[in-house]
Amino acid sequence: MTGSSLPDKALARAVQSLPNDSLSATRRSALAQFLERGFPTTRLEDWKYTDLKEVAEISRRWLEGGATSPETSALDGEIQRICSSIDADWIVVANGVISPGVISPAGTSHPGNGITVSTFSESSLTPAFDVPLADFNAALLTDGLHIRITADAANDRPLGLLIIDRTNGLPGVAQTRIRIDFEDGANARLIEYQVSLGEAEHYANAVVELCIGSAADVDYVRVQNRAENHIQTHRTEVRLATRSVFRYSGFDLGGQLVRNDLDIEISAPEAEVSIAGLYVAGDGQHIDNHVRIDHQTGPARSTQEYRGILGGRCRCVWNGKAIVQPGADGTDAEQANHNLLLSDHSEIDAKPELEIYADDVKCSHGTTVGQIDDNALFYLRTRGLDKKDAIRALTRAFGASIVSRLAIVELAESLTAMVEARLAELTESDSQ
């Protein structure tokens, strides 16, 4: 690594300008580490296909512009629109700043005693920074969001995390940090909705930690629909205890450059993990999903299925890795990645990986890359469907297996509409 490539003094000033609080010491240590390590480069195997040059550029321009955050009151309308369209209790993080309070649907009460919402400083937590980009995140973090969910918490509505950013003429950078503790036996459904608006370029960097207790059952859906010139790097770390169940789906529809890392540690037996993902990319987009599932002990089961729909001139990356550590007998790990290419100019770099150090395991992986099936297209056209409508129906069908397994019904209508709108844009520009 070659250092930060950012104006060091301006960066140090930006870190110092944050409030003097319980996070200050951590910020300084994280800054020191970042100045030494810098952003990950394409020389690292894990970053081979995703170049963060643009991230460094935006960060530099943001620092040179005074490292300011725009007023977020202009987002009120959009926040209101999103929160009222999806039936959930919402916590809002706008431009990296946690908004106080919870927005609940009209006529309902806020989540009860089982759910505690606080900040890192209130909970005396400090952000860890042992992986690339987490140091940059910890150095510039205003504060983290800490949520605790107990076994008593009601699960009649999902809990929504709205990560919303806005640029205002100047390049923007926002850091978000979230930690959720699902206590033993908790049942919870979470929506993490990432969205950003504004003409100017923007870089959002987030680290999310999910600690899932024994016999807890968690559904987690992440939806990313950022503006077309905005960049996101996002890392989710999950630790699962005995007999816990974790179902995750990730949907990536927007953004110019998107890199998501999902890092799951199964350190206790009988955990169950199921992951699904859909990425839809068009002209100028780069969407990279890296998944790492570490089976440290068995028996446990993990499955992952990612699907990609690629149109125009775009590039997507899928890297699914399952590691079965020595002694993790009884592991069952499946991974699948399927891609539909709508144009000759789209590229997918798919890399399934299995590292197995135990004997009694069942592991499989499969990757496919294909185009619209000509026979199916002709069949639909002989029934009177326009070529464009037929392509859209087949494209929608390709993503349907991911969309239809959505565990959070409150999100279904909005998500289907978002995916449909994105596919309409894609098929509009790719079917001549």
Partner: protein, 250 residues
């Protein structure tokens, strides 16, 4: 209704249709028979507009206009229906969605409003009852995991919903057991109408016991060798296709 004149067509470098002529009028049921590889399915695909086949000569006129100028979807909206020999499985596209989209595409073409959801469902259920199809098929992916017989019934269901002017059924009888064959024949007979033409492409005479054709044509090497009434089919069953070929060359 359909006037095929000296039609030649090829795929890749292989000439499959070689100067085929055929006239089909409203109200008629034609059977096109012939050995494997004679060009029966190619004829059906060319009429439906498959771009794997290049028309190298001749013409096809439908309702007085040049059919070959139209896209497959335009042909469908003008009333042509092709029942596929191998109906395509399309997981994720709902059968009911396709039926409704197909019916509405045709209605829109005629300047009519979209079909009422309730009326559509009622009609689909009626037609399914005639074909002995369970209603659960409406909510499954198009032909997804259907048995051979279920796929063919589904083709006939689509035809029944679309009420085409010209229906071409490509080996709809192949691979069917006797119950499925009777159900399919019942569906086809229900569509017989003085305003409608039906072309049955078939390898065997069996279907013609249940759907009586007005004309039978024998296709070989991409052209019609012989035409006759339904007794020709029986004669073929008895004497085999070689008999027609020999007679033609004699």
């Amino acid at each position: 209704m359909l006037e095929i004149s000296e039609l030649s067509a090829s795929t890749g470098n292989t000439e499959i249709l070689d100067g085929l002529s055929l006239t089909v009028n409203a109200g008629e049921v034609h059977a096109i028979m012939g050995p494997n590889g004679s060009g029966k399915s190619t004829l059906a695909q060319v009429i439906a507009g498959h771009d794997d086949y290049a028309v190298t000569g001749g013409s096809v006129t439908y309702k007085g206009s040049d059919l070959l100028q139209l896209e497959p979807e335009e042909r469908a909206r003008e009333g042509i229906f092709l029942g596929f020999q191998y109906p395509v499985e399309i997981p994720g596209v709902n059968n009911a969605y396709l039926l409704k989209a197909a019916v509405n595409a045709k209605r829109k073409h005629r300047g009519l409003d979209e079909v009422d959801a309730f009326e559509f469902l009622k009609l689909a259920r009626e037609k399914m009852a005639i074909l002995g199809m369970d209603q659960k098929f409406l909510n499954r992916g198009v032909n997804e995991g259907f048995s051979g017989g279920e796929k063919k019934r589904n083709e006939v269901l689509q035809m029944a919903m679309l009420e085409p002017d010209l229906a071409i059924l490509d080996e709809t009888d192949s691979g069917l057991d006797i119950d499925a064959l009777k159900a399919v024949a019942k569906g086809v007979n229900a569509l017989r109408d003085p305003e409608r033409a039906i072309v049955l492409v078939t390898h065997y005479q069996r279907l013609l016991d249940y759907v009586q054709p007005d004309f039978v044509h024998v296709l070989s090497s991409g052209r019609i060798l012989r035409s006759g009434d339904k007794s020709l089919a029986l004669e073929l069953e008895e004497k085999g296709y070689d008999w027609v070929k020999e007679a033609a060359h004699a």
